[in-house]
């Protein structure tokens, strides 16, 4: 293959290819289609994947939700059916005893209450929180700030409001720095926030007023109870590892029977996420399988056609040999032709696949089409590079047998006059 880049050889090959267009076209078709299918399928698969992952948004995925529920087993003199609420104090104990635990964001809700600013008012959910919920739920702080540590420590009468609340109560007015009233208590607005994605299921975030948990406890007499908390694992730790420890600590703390399947409830989002990841891993594997299969069929097709071509070109090869072509030059000629045809047709297939996927993506975005479970189909550049390498190797493989066949052509037989 010394002369792979010789200009002359390429000219010789171009001449042969361009003067046998139909033959070249037929050879190219299989690979073109194979690589097109591969790129197209994987792009669509990516769209499906993006569509599903989009619902997760930027929110943390290494988290679990923890809440309390009614016990089902008697324990230490307590009867079954007891309800043991979680408390703010539990957080410190959990942090101390569960080393995998990174952040805890608790939340207590006291339901909807009239929220008043001047003459404007509306019924909104009142939430008591600490500082970390925006990190976990991927909230955008659209102005001002969220609850901070001093707010919590000093139980300040401050609040952060959802975009809808701001809209209704403040309209054109600046919300941050203004005041509002909840159940007769005056709060200063320090920030406005919205969920990372505005969806049906995040509407409640838009319609909430968040105050420090400590303030809630003092102002509305909720004790230091919390409804649920979101626990994030430290990087490198699995939530599945952390979950049983949290349950154990809490059960111990609340005197719940260790074998009680109820009492402390939990939902492992990471596991859910991993299941979806696993599913897509499977889907992707399948798409690769189908795509590669199509491609392989294309390659076998090329090889077959090249074989036929070599048969058809027996006379030509015989002539070339009689004129002084070495077996290597014949092998090199057939291989280069094969690689060239596969590479070009594959490249065209890839281009078309990318173009269609890109066009689809563009149409979806520019027309604001939001489909369930399908979003932004993409062609991964890695796929392109891999495919190109596969193509060259494929071309070599496809050409190999025909090339060897060609090099063995016996000029005496090939040139026999009938």
């Amino acid at each position: 293959m010394s002369g792979l880049f010789e200009r002359d050889k390429w000219q010789e090959i171009f001449a042969t290819i361009s003067k046998n267009k139909l033959r070249t076209f037929l050879t190219a078709l299989g690979v073109f289609w194979g690589i097109f299918m591969l790129v197209f399928l994987l792009g669509m698969g990516k769209g499906l994947e993006n569509g599903v992952y989009k619902d997760f948004g930027a929110r943390a995925k290494n988290i679990m939700y923890v809440w309390s529920s009614r016990t089902t087993l008697p324990y230490k003199g307590y009867k079954a059916g007891r309800m043991v609420p979680l408390e703010l104090a539990d957080l410190e104990i959990l942090k101390e005893k569960v080393i995998e635990l990174d952040k805890i964001a608790p939340r207590n809700e006291i339901g909807e209450h009239p929220v008043v600013h001047g003459i404007a008012s509306g019924d909104y959910t009142i939430r008591g929180e600490l500082t970390d919920m925006p990190l976990i739920e991927a909230f955008n702080i659209t102005s001002g700030r969220y609850i901070n540590h001093s707010d919590v420590a000093d139980a300040r009468k401050v609040c952060v409001i959802g975009e809808t609340v701001r809209d209704v109560l403040f309209g054109e007015e600046t919300a941050v720095g203004s005041h509002l009233t909840v159940r007769g208590v005056d709060f200063k607005v320090v920030g406005v926030y919205e969920p990372g994605q505005i969806k049906e299921w995040t509407r409640e975030d838009m319609e909430s007023v968040v105050i420090p948990l400590t303030t809630m406890s003092r102002a509305f007499g909720t004790g230091e109870y919390i409804d649920y908390m979101v626990c994030a694992a430290k990087p490198g730790y699995a939530v599945a590892q952390m979950e049983p420890k949290i349950r154990e600590v809490l059960k111990n703390l609340k005197s719940i029977h260790p074998d009680d399947s109820s009492g402390i409830g939990g939902f492992n989002l990471e596991e859910e996420f991993q299941q979806i990841q696993g599913l897509f891993f499977g889907i992707k594997g399948f798409l690769w399988f189908v795509g590669i299969g199509t491609l392989v069929a294309g390659i076998i097709g090329v090889s077959n056609i090249m074989l036929i071509i070599v048969k058809e070109r027996t006379k030509e090869i015989g002539i070339r040999k009689a004129l002084g072509a070495t077996p290597n030059s014949i092998i090199s000629m057939i291989l280069t032709e094969s690689v060239f045809i596969t590479a070009i047709s594959g490249f065209l297939g890839m281009a078309l696949g990318t173009f269609i996927i890109g066009g689809l993506s563009y149409l979806l975005i520019s027309n604001n089409i939001e489909t369930e479970n399908f979003y932004n189909p993409q062609v991964n550049p890695i796929v392109g590079i891999t495919a190109t390498i596969i193509l060259v190797i494929a071309g070599l493989l496809a050409g190999l047998i025909p090339a060897l066949q060609a090099s063995k052509v016996n000029p005496v037989v090939a040139l026999k006059d009938e």
Binding site: K19, L323, G324
Partner: protein
């Protein structure tokens, strides 16, 4: 120039063995103009293919100049000899249909790695020698048999070989064209190139200086 000593060649087809050349001893001097005659199946083409190193022989010795041509010659070396020292002309011309006359003539130089421009120029020169300079851009199927054969002869000559081997070069041509083609061979031979022509026709053989007659794989007379 060419020395054959006791050349034997058989073809095996299944269980049958066909002894085609039975101990040929032939000497051909440099610059000779030779015709090989004999009935169909007498082994003329077989002999010519051995001379052209397209085929090998079973027994004996074949010297081309001072080079012994035998099985120890690699395919690559054989290709080199064919390319540098031997020019072929066939009954059915064997031009590449998808190449123009000029490109066909230039092809042997491609395998000598002569630059493209020079190839084209020399091909035109050799076409001119056979009176076909104006036909350089034509494809074989746009030419008459006689013209095609003249293109083929130019192609055989372009690498400046020591020997021209022609297997029934006039077999597909009418007698007038045949004689035109023979004129060219005569001119070629006049330049000192050893010319060996296989033919069936006596009037063609008469135009050469020496006739070798084959009968049943042996030399007659």
């Amino acid at each position: 120039m060419i020395r054959l000593k006791n050349i034997n060649k058989s073809y095996t087809m299944g269980a049958n063995k066909l002894h085609v050349l039975k101990g040929l001893d032939i000497n051909i001097d440099e610059g000779a103009f030779v015709s090989i005659m004999g009935s169909s199946g007498s082994g003329k083409s077989t002999l010519l293919n051995i001379l052209g190193i397209l085929d090998d022989y079973d027994e004996g010795e074949y010297w081309l100049g001072d080079q012994l041509i035998d099985k120890s010659l690699s395919e690559k070396q054989a290709a080199f000899f064919r390319n540098q020292h031997i020019g072929f002309v066939f009954q059915s011309f064997n031009l590449l249909n998808f190449k123009t006359a000029q490109e066909n003539v230039a092809l042997p130089l491609y395998y000598q790695k002569v630059p493209r421009k020079e190839r084209a120029a020399r091909a035109l020169e050799y076409l001119d020698m056979v009176g076909l300079a104006d036909w350089a851009g034509h494809y074989p199927n746009q030419m008459s048999g006689g013209q095609q054969q003249r293109v083929a002869i130019s192609r055989a000559l372009i690498s400046n070989p020591q020997v021209i081997l022609a297997d029934e070069p006039t077999g597909a041509l009418d007698s007038k064209t045949s004689h035109e083609v023979m004129e060219i061979f005569k001119k070629v031979n006049g330049q000192g190139i050893t010319t060996i022509i296989v033919t069936h026709e006596d009037d063609i053989a008469e135009l050469t200086n020496q006739v070798i007659r084959l009968k049943d794989g042996q030399i007659e007379n």
